[in-house]
């Protein structure tokens, strides 16, 4: 059961969104997040959502997957919306006035605005992780951060750590499964008892797991040394990220659409 879990949420495909240079995708997602926070009106927000929906369709990612990724953040969305609803002041008469609670028209508008903005935020970053495999993402982060290596940031080491972590997640999950079974065979009660008992029952699983992880790390380090590993200096890569002609198309497209979304502030009055 534990073996089937997938790492990250990569949704393989061959669309233009998938094939876009991962470095560009990261930068565009950051730009999109900034854009979302500069939008101050409903027209811009709606346009940015339409844009995102279009890209999702282009990437052929089913709607249920997007909804699934939004599910865990529903409480956050609700919390933000409710806070804004109650604490947003406004001019004119409150629509509802009950005890200390006053709800104004502006409050309702702002609550909806904030909720939609968070949804767009999550769905926007989701598009990046759906269309980019973790290894490519790690690679792209390493390249993007490489200028900071001169300032002493251990960029290569961080990327290597991420790669090894991704590599060992399935191995360690499998091992956890094995240890759990071994402990059950020795009479451990893992699924019964109070919450406290169950947490206590985790100790005999975690200790062997940690010891084994240390041993694995030791062996891996030796195997890496045997293969001439000596840090990031002078290292080449099998797959070189190259800016393709279609990436320039993506840049242009996003520049225009992002600009359009931003420009809506001159057409429609802001919510605030």
């Amino acid at each position: 059961m534990l073996k089937d879990i997938t790492i990250g949420q990569h949704f393989p495909g061959d669309s233009i969104v998938h094939r876009t240079d991962p470095r560009l995708k990261i930068l565009l997602v950051i730009a999109y997040i900034v854009l979302l926070f500069t939008i101050n009106n409903f027209l811009g927000l709606a346009l940015s959502l339409v844009l995102l929906a279009g890209l999702y369709m282009l990437a052929k990612i089913p709607l249920r997957i997007i909804l699934k990724s939004l599910k865990p953040i529903i409480p956050i969305i609700a919390f933000t919306a409710i806070l804004n609803l109650f604490f947003m002041g406004g001019q004119g008469e409150p629509l509802i006035h009950f005890w200390v609670i006053k709800v104004y028209k502006e409050g309702i508008a702002y609550a909806i605005f904030m909720a939609v903005r968070i949804v767009a935020l999550i769905a926007g970053t989701g598009l990046l992780t759906y269309t980019t495999s973790p290894i490519v993402l790690t690679d792209a982060i390493e390249r993007l951060l490489s200028p900071f290596a001169k300032l002493g940031l251990p960029v290569h080491e961080l990327a290597m750590m991420m790669t090894i972590a991704l590599r060992f997640i399935p191995t360690l999950i499998e091992e956890t499964d094995k240890i759990m079974n071994a402990q059950k065979a020795r009479g451990a009660m893992l699924d019964s008892g109070s919450a406290k008992d169950r947490i206590k029952a985790m100790v005999p699983i975690l200790i062997p797991l940690f010891i084994s992880a240390f041993r694995r790390a030791d062996e891996l380090a030796m195997a890496m040394e045997c293969r001439c590993y000596r840090g990031g200096e002078g290292r080449t890569r099998l797959k070189v990220l190259k800016f393709q002609p279609h990436d320039w198309g993506t840049v242009t497209f996003c520049a225009v659409t992002f600009g359009l979304v931003w420009a809506t502030r001159f057409v429609m009055p802001g919510v605030l």
């Binding site: 790492i7 090894i164 991704l166 399935p170 891996l220 293969r227 001439c228 080449t236 797959k239």
Partner: protein, 277 residues
């Protein structure tokens, strides 16, 4: 120069409080040879193997790889490129999340240009028979396949010598057979010297030469026939002999006349056929 690896009076201990794990071991591995190293647990064979590519350095004595002293730090990466190591647990040797990326790891470290990496890893994956799995995640492969990925990752460096530290110990019989097949293929068809540290007598019986270690040094040396026909001595070193040799031994004890030097099943079957004819 015919010597691949030469170890001379190597002594090594992990900490000064511990006894010597390798205690005056000397051996020469010739180019193109397939050498099996045998020995009971704790006889120092794995520790000695780690001296062959400068993972460990001898406390006294010398180890040379194609004439390069392993203590010469300026030649460290040449040595590691010449002698590739494959370890017991395939899971703990694979670094990347995609097979071909892992095979490329050593070449990336060596700063080989990308186009050449591509050519060399394709070649290495074909040599070890995992080319069709190149885009899979390592954890989706069987133990034998994973070990062949590890071998490909080492072969990609184009080493002259491959040291296998109980590389088949964790595999099921079929995986083991496949891995041994690959290794023999590399040895015969590409002339790669192989040093195989093993517990499996049947594997050792297929080698050109067998070295037996005990208490940190080499105690027996010779062709598999020479070594395994001394059944009593091999047993006294807490080792088994191949089943065919054992059977021959028992039959001789029971008064049957069988020729000496029977170590494989085929030889045994042929000798029995002769006897019964």
């Amino acid at each position: 120069m015919n010597e691949m690896i030469a170890a001379k009076d190597v002594r090594f201990r992990y900490t000064p409080e511990n006894p010597y794990a390798v205690d005056g071991a000397s051996m020469t591995i010739r180019k193109g040879e397939f050498v099996a190293v045998l020995g009971a647990n704790g006889c120092g064979k794995s520790t000695l193997a780690k001296h062959f590519n400068a993972i460990l350095l001898p406390e006294s004595g010398t180890v040379t790889v194609e004439g390069m002293d392993t203590r010469d730090e300026s030649q460290l990466y040449d040595i590691r490129q010449t002698v590739g190591m494959v370890f017991q647990n395939p899971d703990n040797q694979i670094v990347a999340t995609v097979v071909e990326e892992d095979v490329a790891f050593a070449l990336e470290n060596l700063g080989v240009p990308p186009a050449e990496i591509r050519a060399r890893i394709d070649e290495a994956m074909q040599m070890s028979g995992i080319y069709k799995h190149r885009e899979k995640a390592p954890h989706k492969l069987s133990g034998g396949q994973k070990q062949r990925v590890a071998i490909a990752g080492v072969i990609a460096m184009r080493p002259d010598c491959l040291v296998l530290d109980e590389a088949t110990a964790m595999l099921d019989p079929r995986g083991r057979e496949k891995v041994m097949e690959t290794i023999h293929h590399l040895n015969k068809d590409f002339g790669i010297t192989v040093v195989s540290i093993t517990h499996y007598m049947e594997e050792a019986a297929q080698a050109d030469r067998v070295l037996v270690m005990s208490e940190g040094h080499v105690v027996m040396e010779g062709t598999p026939k020479e070594v395994f026909s001394q059944t009593e001595k091999v047993r006294s070193l807490r080792l088994d002999v191949p089943q065919a040799a054992e059977l021959r031994d028992e039959l001789v004890k029971a008064g049957l006349d069988l020729p000496e030097g029977i170590i494989t099943e085929d030889e045994c079957a042929a000798a029995l056929y002769e006897l019964l004819k």
